[in-house]
């Protein structure tokens, strides 16, 4: 389990307008590039002082590559990070205000309390 790394992906993509579009258009390629190039960068350290140990599990990598926000919820990715990034990518495809957000809720409707643990 590397919930921290899932969150780091969502966080670093969400804050970069170009990466948001890149992840929307090419999720699998973006996830592969990000894991190889970015996953181990410590955000407040120079690139030479990167970490050496962070990788996704297969399930995490696949959930991100498939834009599978239901699976991300199940894996314990932070609910706010997933929601924010997926709104940025997909709200535009819906005509009704909050149409995407309501579909998102419906797709999660089989979850009951307690929800998957988001602690890192």
């Amino acid at each position: 389990m590397s919930k921290y790394l899932l969150n780091k992906f969502l966080y670093t993509v969400d804050r970069d307008p170009e990466l948001v579009e890149r992840y929307r258009a090419d999720p699998r390629g973006t996830v592969a590039w990000w894991e190889a190039d970015r996953a181990n960068l410590i955000l407040n350290c120079p690139a030479g002082e990167r970490s050496t140990w962070l990788t996704f599990t297969d399930a995490e990598r696949e959930a991100l590559a498939a834009h599978d926000y239901v699976k991300l919820f199940e894996l314990g990715a932070h609910n706010f990070l997933t929601l924010t990034l997926f709104i940025a990518m997909f709200e535009r495809d819906y005509d009704e205000p909050l149409g995407f957000q309501r579909e998102y809720a419906r797709k999660l409707s089989h979850f009951s309390l307690p929800y998957p643990d988001i602690s890192t």
Binding site: R15, Y104, Y115, S119
Partner: protein, 286 residues
Amino acid sequence: MATVAAVIASTHHPFYYRASTSTGTDRPPFADEWVAKIEAFRQTLTRARADVLVMVGSDHFHQLWLDNMPQFLVGKAPFYDANFYNEEREFGLPRMFVRGDEELSGYLLRQGMDAGFDLAFSNELRIDHSITCPLITLRPETDLPIVPIYTNIFAPPLPQPGRFVELGRTIRQLVESWPSDKRVAIIGTGHLSLELGGPRQFGPHGPDPEFDRKAVGWIASGDLESALAEVSLESLWLPGNATHGFMDFMLMMGVAGENVKADYVDSLDLFHTMEAYFTWYPEASA
């Protein structure tokens, strides 16, 4: 010594700015009632004639990140830029710029640490909508210097609810002991029941109206005993997965004081969350 001119607790709804400034067919049906309530609420701060605003909020994974996450942080800077690209993108929030009161920041940090809170600090803090929303609603001129205080209601492990209350009490005592003739308003924003990124999000009302009803009662009457008896880190998951933001309301109850009734109480049932607005005037009850 400084005067606590007002204590204000509020929800912070990032949709308010867009709803209140939109026109024609873009204007949502609930906008006029919302604006009227906010303008009335704004008067409660205007009336207090504050010189400085202490503002309690929570960074929503903007500048603060999981590789170095403070539980309680005080901004200490002469200026604060505000709002982030994803808030502009999702909520249409404008970029903002606010002056800071470094002297009061420094006082709260030094005295806060000496009072038992090992507060983190930031000398370059970009503040987000948890602080800019109440500026937009309560002081859109943004002409008063601020001291931002961030709490972690977002990234577990979180401090216990009682610790938020205790910090609120401490902030109140420290402001009252600040050697200054300034009038300070202490403003904090949080949430009632709220679900984000879960199955109960964006429903026709907040995810737990019963919790909201009780919570508004606790806040309005200063009933810290009931709030602390019923609220725990575990229980807050039940009303909605973003309801830990209620702990910032509990912090503000600590500022306002046990069993001190709010002088102004209002609420508004929006489509997916309940808005709630409270003001206390400590001078009147002193």
